[in-house]
Symmetry: C2
């Protein structure tokens, strides 16, 4: 074997990902050395509890509770503790000690990314985080490097496996949210406390990271509009299917250009309608995918496992090899490219299409009233479908074109109106929906969903 | 604007890709400078003919026929001439002059890659080639960097847009190869001389590049088994559809492990049957996709435009920004990782599944004879379907399970046997097919196709 220089690697955390990283580092040491051009010596694994249960059988003597000391003298520090503290302190300590950092910590990067990257910049260190945005899917390097000569226009990502699993099961089985969530928890696809996933917090952190990279701009987490999937029910899924859509929790990162040429960005996470023919519609189970539209490259899609211990370990080890190559090659870290400084707009400025589902009085003139309110609110109607849900005569619900339904309906029951809009401004849309709700002819606003995918 | 250091960029070639690269470099100069941390000055464009027609409106004073002089003093040389010479000489000249090289030249890299990479290694230069393997799709960095800590087991790539366009049209329209090819030529999807595409030469070059990266091994072009799509006809496509498959020209790069643990690789390009539920089956038109299976990361797919001037220019400019960042950061090139040195096996050693279509005498005992020959040849049958194609009694062709058909057929017409095999060794398979052809009961071997996708 070639006589390589040895690099000292410190691992912080030995959870699902950490123990796989340690296992693979030990098992494939020679092969990794050949690729990195350096021997990667696992100097130690810092954990909170020495007697914790691990997913892999690892040498006991590697474990320590003293992360601080382990970090000193390390060339590469792998941070897989998760959470903000003590991860933040240890990462800054590692950078100050002269180490490169590899992390999968999306919470840390989404909230303290600037602090971490600036600290690294100042000492010429590098921070690698391929595992932080979409698990095993290589998306950081494509955005940061491969597309660095292009202009990303839009990203639509399925970046949370738990919610995609839940929505996919709801779609294929017609099951309700609560039932599928309970099953997902049993199978280990969802945490006992599923808030971070189902309320979109996890996806919002990843959206902030992806948008920062894609638009070369620091995107703070609180600039990300976030809605979860807890309000999605079986009826909405069925209605989406009927209209040729599937509901996906999307992270949308978009470049907006004003009439005067000035640019801004919008970053948002919400359940959205995606056409069934769109590549994202066929992302099933707990898989992730990131769909990228760039001015020159056109449409690209990156697909794979978004989570999982060993899958995520693959991304972490790729970063470790990159860090090692850089140590051997010399040179300072290139840092993050954030010089574009594009402002993030509030959700009200977003322009997209919508599907509005209303329960209305089934009386003559109702559609005209609804259409009038939409038109006043600068929301243009693309499609309408009216369904009688409680006909005064006859038992079965019947569907017809809107004008037919309006002309032929006499009774005093309820009807369901599903309105597809052309592109509208979110603020116009939400004000219009409020006016609809208060109009007297609308019994209930059943749902308002964005339609994404152009 | 920040006061950046200026890097001198030389462009060789102003064809479809080259003129777009020049145009974008000039148009987005400030933005690219912010990303690269350096001003990218297009010093000149070397062409054969100063009066050639260009796809973009470029300043006349940039053009020169003297590539040699343009290269000297350049920091980054972009080679987009294509072909082996004079590209090879100019690339080596650029490296010797101290420049980093960005190239989209798959022919050069597949045939003289080692020479180019070694020359770069010796002077600490770097060679970037994101555009050489799958156009705009970022696949080089994911394989080289993101998956550097993992073990790639297999790649299945649709890496030639022309052949995918032809096969997709044949599949959706039931059209014949020659007709679709003629249309593709009219529409500009195929060259006047389509040999490089339809005979698989282009895909074979890309397969060599992908396999070299994925397996950290130098894969010479002549180690790639290559078959084109000219023998694929409408009947084969229809028969594939009937069995739940679609025919795709695949570049397959596979890691093989022998019983004693020793490893080798197989790299091959041929039209193969892919199940219609496989992600690769939904890659339509001239699009490309690379499906990667890795030990830890699992299944990944990268999808996008595989060709096109402006799309490919995106990948080239990403490399230019990377090269510029490296110039600013300092440090030597990290070179290619080829230390695994895995031998490439001949096609005969490949193990995969097959679909064999035979025309046989429609007589009792024929299936038994065929099955016997397969069994002797160590080819195990998974499925059989027999169709009477010239019944001695009755007009319409009838399909039945094999045993039924064999038992009930009396006449002296012909039958079609479609045999799906379990995994078999290619050499066993081809010897068996030869024995079948010579057996007396087989009138014609209609087709033998590999089935890929596990």
């Amino acid at each position: 074997m070639t006589d390589y220089r040895t690099l000292r690697v410190a691992l912080l955390g030995a959870g699902a990902v950490g123990s796989q990283v340690a296992d693979l580092l030990l098992k494939h040491g020679d092969e990794l050395a050949d690729r990195a051009g350096a021997k990667l010596e696992l100097a130690g694994i810092a954990v909170r509890n020495l007697d914790g249960k691990r997913d892999a059988d690892l040498p006991r003597e590697l474990f320590t509770t003293d992360a601080e000391t382990l970090i000193v003298g390390s060339d590469i520090v792998i941070e897989l503790m998760g959470g903000i503290e003590p991860a933040r302190t240890q990462v800054l300590h590692a950078i100050a000690s002269g180490a490169d950092v590899v992390t999968a910590n999306k919470a840390l990067l989404a909230t303290h990314g600037s602090e971490v990257f600036e600290a690294a910049d100042q000492v010429g260190a590098e921070v690698y985080y391929e595992a932080a945005a979409a698990g095993a899917i290589p998306i950081i390097r494509p955005l940061r490097d491969s597309l660095a000569g292009d202009r990303v226009v839009r990203i639509m990502g399925i970046v949370n496996g738990t919610t995609n699993y839940i929505l996919d099961r709801m779609d294929t089985e017609g099951a309700d949210f609560a039932d599928v969530l309970a099953q997902a928890q049993e199978l280990g696809y969802a945490e006992a406390d599923p808030t971070a996933d189902v309320e979109g917090y996890d996806a919002a952190q990843k959206a902030a990271i992806l948008a920062s990279l894609a638009f070369h701009t620091t995107v703070p987490l609180d600039a990300v509009h976030r809605e979860g999937i807890t309000s999605v029910d079986a009826a909405m899924i069925e209605s989406a299917r009927h209209a040729g859509y599937v509901i996906k929790l999307l992270a949308v990162c978009e470049r907006l250009t004003a009439d005067d040429g000035s640019e801004s960005i919008s970053v948002r996470v919400y359940p959205a309608l995606v056409e069934r023919t769109h590549p994202l519609a066929s992302v099933h189970g707990a898989n992730n995918a990131v769909f990228v539209q760039a001015e020159a490259a056109g449409d690209l899609m990156f697909y794979g496992a978004g989570a999982g211990g060993v899958q995520t370990a693959s991304a972490v080890l790729g970063d470790v090899v990159s860090a090692a190559r850089r140590h051997i090659a010399g040179g300072v870290g290139v840092g993050e490219s954030t010089r574009a400084n594009l402002p993030a707009v509030p959700i009200g400025h977003v322009i997209t299409r919508y599907q509005i589902t209303l329960e209305v009085d089934d009386q003559p003139g109702v559609l005209a009233t609804v259409a009038g309110i939409l038109s006043e609110g600068r929301v243009s109607i693309a499609t309408v479908e009216q369904t009688v849900i409680e006909a005064s005569v006859g038992a079965a619900a019947s569907t017809g074109s809107a004008t037919e339904a309006e002309g032929s309906t006499i009774g005093a029951g309820s009807a369901r109106l599903v309105i597809g809009t052309h592109k509208a401004r979110e603020q116009d849309l939400s004000e219009t929906v409020e006016r609809l709700a208060a109009s007297g002819v609308v019994e209930r606003v059943v749902s308002v969903l964005r339609v994404e995918g152009n």
